[in-house]
């Protein structure tokens, strides 16, 4: 870094974009590897395609803007965007879904706004929502886990065929995710006490879903590791999870046949991934601690509202994007007091 201060009293902690990104990726790696094992080669190919597309989009835009592409590509932010997007896709999705999503994330949601630090919305979530609205069928084609080591799992080559969308026979059992199943059954008039009998919540993540939602415990462990390392503060994750869990607990206590319980809400869908890795994005979240609490709470409450009463079974991406739009307003509303001045900006009496 060229900005190392020479004169005292400054000391540089060594933090930089690339180092923070590396720590985030490190925290994300266990859950990702577990997801790879759970869903086999198609998931690995999809991850590679999505990340490469995100990098390609970034490089293309930088070249069009006559900027050197290498330093920006090496800071890891585009890689992380593609990675997070891949974690939110159905693991056996066709390759073009990851490719379109990756390009959309870095070109439309990031570079159009001016690159890292300028984007109003989280690029990975913009791409996910764009994909969900554009391609509702492949974006909700969840498959049951088929671990890499299990008999009948697609191998190195068969997995490639799945990702390329030309597999002659599908060995996977397609199935609804838990939230989708609950919503579909509720709309048919089957209450939760009956409909969830065949869909136990597996904390080990052995159930249909995206890479980033099944390994809930590993995602949470990675998130806590990031808090310990000082990459993120606890405010947004805690507030967001509370924002989901509190109304869920109240609703479940009132009518268990209509409302899912808090544990299911927390461990389903993108709640944990969203709370620890997506809502905490520095660029698109408020700067003050109070603002972060408000932001996280809003993300959580909106997620619960969309999941419970909205048209889509999962709402983390929408909730985060809506709160992203409010982040600048929250920053204006909850400005820190200037040192030596009161809240109105007048000097303090000496």
């Amino acid at each position: 870094m060229s900005a190392v201060p020479i004169a005292s009293p400054h000391a540089h902690g060594g933090a930089g974009v690339s180092r923070i990104m590396a720590k985030v990726m490190l925290a994300l790696a266990p859950a990702t590897l577990y997801g790879f094992w759970l869903y086999g080669w198609p998931a690995i190919y999809l991850w590679i395609v999505t990340v490469l597309a995100a990098l390609l989009g970034e490089a293309t835009c930088l070249r069009l803007a006559d900027q050197p592409a290498r330093p920006v590509l090496l800071d890891g932010s585009a890689l992380l965007t593609g990675w997070l997007l891949a974690l939110s896709l159905p693991p056996w999705a066709p390759w073009w879904l990851g490719a379109v999503g990756g390009l959309f994330a870095t070109i439309v949601a990031k570079q159009v706004f001016g690159g890292l630090g300028q984007n109003l919305f989280n690029p990975a979530m913009v791409a996910r929502v764009a994909l969900l609205i554009s391609f509702p069928v492949p974006m909700t084609a969840w498959v049951a886990p088929l671990p890499l080591t299990a008999a009948g799992a697609p191998g190195l080559f068969d997995g490639l065929l799945v990702t390329l969308g030309s597999a002659t026979q599908l060995d996977a059992v397609s199935s609804a995710s838990l939230l989708g199943h609950a919503k579909a059954e509720l709309s048919r008039g089957v209450d939760l006490l009956h409909s969830l009998g065949g869909h136990p919540l597996s904390l080990a993540g052995y159930r249909p879903g995206s890479l980033g939602e099944t390994a809930g415990l590993l995602i949470a462990a990675g998130g806590i590791a990031m808090i310990v390392m000082g990459v993120i503060s606890w405010h947004i994750p805690a507030a967001m999870l509370a924002g989901i869990a509190l109304p869920a607990a109240i609703g479940h206590a009132v009518d268990p046949a209509r409302y899912l319980d808090a544990t299911t809400h927390i461990f389903s869908g993108g709640a944990l991934l969203g709370a620890f890795f997506i809502a905490t994005d520095y660029v698109t979240s408020p700067n003050t601690r109070a603002g972060q609490l408000l932001f996280g709470l809003g993300c959580g409450l909106l997620t619960y509202v969309i999941r419970t009463w909205g048209g889509y079974p999962e709402g983390v991406a929408f909730a985060v994007l809506l709160m992203n739009a409010l982040a600048p307003a929250i920053d204006r509303l909850l400005k820190p007091r200037i040192y030596g001045r009161n809240r109105k900006g007048a000097p303090l009496p000496s």
Binding site: V112, A130, I133, S134, V137
Partner: protein, 223 residues
């Protein structure tokens, strides 16, 4: 020559959508296909030319204080005529464009041209200005509509025969058969995305043209 310049400005350098950023409401609403864009553009062009000619004709008799109400009444009358004519002769297209035809009356580009150009210019120049602006608007709508239609449905000029008669059925092309379609492009966000990207493209093109035009002059000065 100057008259031709008036016409040319409307097509490109003063384009209603791509340069003045006016009339974005109909632009977003009807450009879900090339055909819709073309129909809306032509209807607006008809209103623009007639409104400009009428305003230019009466500009000497209308006092400044009441000019805006007079213009509005004129434009509203013309729009009603176009609305009824479309309903009578192109009923299928009317069913698609429906509400937006009536909304031509609040298209800011029309009152804008009446106020900014026709109320200060002779009849012929005003007519040409209306024609240029209208065709430029049509060009923009068709371009946006075609891009959105291609990405969203894989076709070009679908249902063009409804607008232009069965003789133009050859325009209807299916570019990508068995195409699932990017639903987002047909929805409102697609309109904003495509407009933004086309605007960027126009600016890049203009900048390229400007540098290309500037290079020989500089060389000539140096010599």
């Amino acid at each position: 020559m100057k008259l031709f310049q008036v016409f040319k400005d409307g097509l490109w350098s003063q384009n209603v959508v791509f340069a003045q950023m006016l009339a974005l409401c109909p632009t977003m609403a009807v450009t879900t296909s090339g055909t819709n864009g073309l129909g809306m553009g032509l209807a607006t062009t008809a209103v623009l030319v007639m409104a400009n000619v009428l305003v230019a004709l009466i500009r000497d008799f209308v006092s400044r204080q009441v000019r805006i109400p007079i213009f509005v009444v004129l434009i509203a009358t013309l729009v009603t005529l176009v609305d009824m004519a479309l309903n009578a002769w192109l009923h299928d297209l009317y069913k698609v464009l429906g509400l937006f035809i009536a909304l031509i009356v609040v298209n800011c580009a029309i009152l804008g041209r009446a106020e900014a150009f026709a109320s200060k210019s002779p009849v012929l120049a005003s007519a040409l200005d209306g024609l240029g602006m209208g065709l430029g608007f049509t060009l923009a709508l068709v371009l946006i509509g075609l891009v959105r239609e291609l990405l969203g449905g894989g076709t070009l000029f679908a249902q063009a025969s409804l607008l232009l008669g069965s003789g133009f059925a050859f325009l209807e092309t299916t570019v990508i058969p068995n195409y699932g379609g990017v639903l987002l492009m047909i929805l409102p966000p697609g309109g904003f995305l495509v407009l933004g990207l086309l605007l960027a493209l126009k600016r890049v093109t203009d900048a390229r043209l400007a540098t290309r035009a500037a290079v020989p002059t500089v060389a000539a000065q140096g010599a």
